[in-house]
């Protein structure tokens, strides 16, 4: 390659134009001259060789070590502990679901209070003479489960689960005994299925009804 000052070949062609042609794979600006000019041909050959290497480098397989992922995530987890979430939590979970936290050592297990309400509702099905009061009182989670958990309210505190229950009972039964059996059954089911401690089952007998024939 013989390049004069000013970046021109002896034939007057600009080196830059040939570099552009090779690098961008363009058609020659002046094909007739190029085909017959030995300066241009020589330079093009050299440039093709050089750019062949550039293309080879572009194709070279590069593998990023996996430890990059680990190092990044470690750095971010450490950083995240020191700084709040980028967006307030309420925006992430618009309907704040209340829950019981069971275990945190190797990842958390949380049980939504709606699940506990459902367990109580299903326990009530074991008692044909008892049914939860229809309708919803304030704070009852009827919007999640329609009528199925109406009459049942759950709250979870550090002490354990508290169940508030409103029921209708069949006429003729001894209410206090029945409620005591019901209370024990509910406590037993919640422990069996979730491992949670139930500290109170408060029952309001709202009504009595005629036996179903």
């Amino acid at each position: 390659m013989n390049v004069h000052a000013g970046g021109r070949l002896p034939c007057g062609t600009r080196l830059a134009a040939l570099v552009e042609q090779v690098a961008d794979n363009l058609a020659p600006a002046n094909p007739e001259h190029q085909a017959s000019c030995s300066h241009c041909q020589e330079t093009l050959d050299e440039l093709e060789e050089l750019w062949g290497r550039v293309r080879e480098l572009a194709r070279e397989q590069v593998t990023a070590p996996y430890r990059i992922v680990q190092a990044v995530m470690h750095g971010i987890r450490t950083q995240s502990l020191l700084r709040p979430l980028p967006i307030p939590f309420e925006e992430v979970v618009p309907q704040l679901v209340r829950h019981a936290l069971l275990q945190q050592a190797r990842g958390s297990t949380r049980i939504a209070d709606s699940v506990l309400a459902r367990i109580v509702a299903l326990t009530l099905h074991e008692f044909p003479a008892v049914e939860p009061a229809a309708g919803t009182s304030e704070g009852v989670r009827g919007r999640f489960f329609g009528g199925t958990t109406s009459g049942i309210e759950i709250s979870v505190s550090e002490r354990g689960v508290v169940v508030e229950l409103r029921v209708t009972v069949e006429y003729g039964l001894h209410l206090q005994s029945l409620v005591e059996v019901l209370r024990r059954k509910i406590v037993e089911r919640i422990t069996q299925l979730t491992g949670l401690v139930t500290v109170e089952v408060n029952v309001l007998v709202e009504d009595v009804r005629r036996p179903l024939v």
Partner: protein, 177 residues
């Protein structure tokens, strides 16, 4: 299926603080980010550092990411700037030291390919500001528009820089033969 999720959804989840979504993004884009850093710095250890820093910075800046470019181009922008900063601070080191350290490291990168080594060394002889657009164009295949976005300059400015950088590279490689 995490693997089939679009970047867009993963980015949205990560913006809300989902670390698992972000981890998947890091996994997907780590090779590209590392490769850009490797071409800019010609040193695997430095490239790894730059890639890590870039992802951590990306996480911090994520809430402000407005998807004006693809997530991938945005990452390239972060890592390119990171490399340019690293090299700016390194320029203050004594010349001799820099040269020795550089030469030793370059040989590790492409030991097997002498010719590619020559190219890498020629690239390293360019000023980082010239090397960046060349790496992005010739090695990463970015469009002029994308490079303009990465380097925060106009498209004509990018074309000019690449044009000059190519001539510099040709001169550097010829000198080396």
């Amino acid at each position: 299926m995490v693997l089939k999720t679009d970047d867009v959804h993963l980015v949205r989840a990560a913006q809300l603080g989902d670390l698992y979504a972000f981890e998947e993004l890091v996994r997907r884009h780590r090779t590209r980010v590392y490769r850009v850093a490797l071409r800019m710095l010609a040193n695997p250890a430095d490239a790894e550092d730059a890639a890590q820093d870039a992802f951590v910075q990306c996480w911090s800046a994520l809430p402000g990411f407005r998807a004006e470019s693809s997530f991938s181009t945005w990452l390239v922008r972060i890592v390119t700037n990171r490399c340019l900063n690293m090299q700016r601070s390194r320029r203050s080191e004594p010349l001799e030291e820099r040269h020795e350290a550089g030469a030793g490291r370059v040989s590790e990168v492409v030991e097997a390919h002498l010719e590619l080594r020559a190219l890498t060394e020629a690239l390293m002889r360019l000023a980082p500001e010239q090397r960046a657009p060349l790496v992005l164009r010739e090695l990463e295949g970015l469009s002029y528009e994308e490079i303009a976005h990465v380097l925060e300059v106009s498209v004509p400015a990018v074309k000019g820089r690449i044009h000059r950088a190519r001539l510099e590279l040709v001169a550097a490689m010829r000198q080396w033969r």
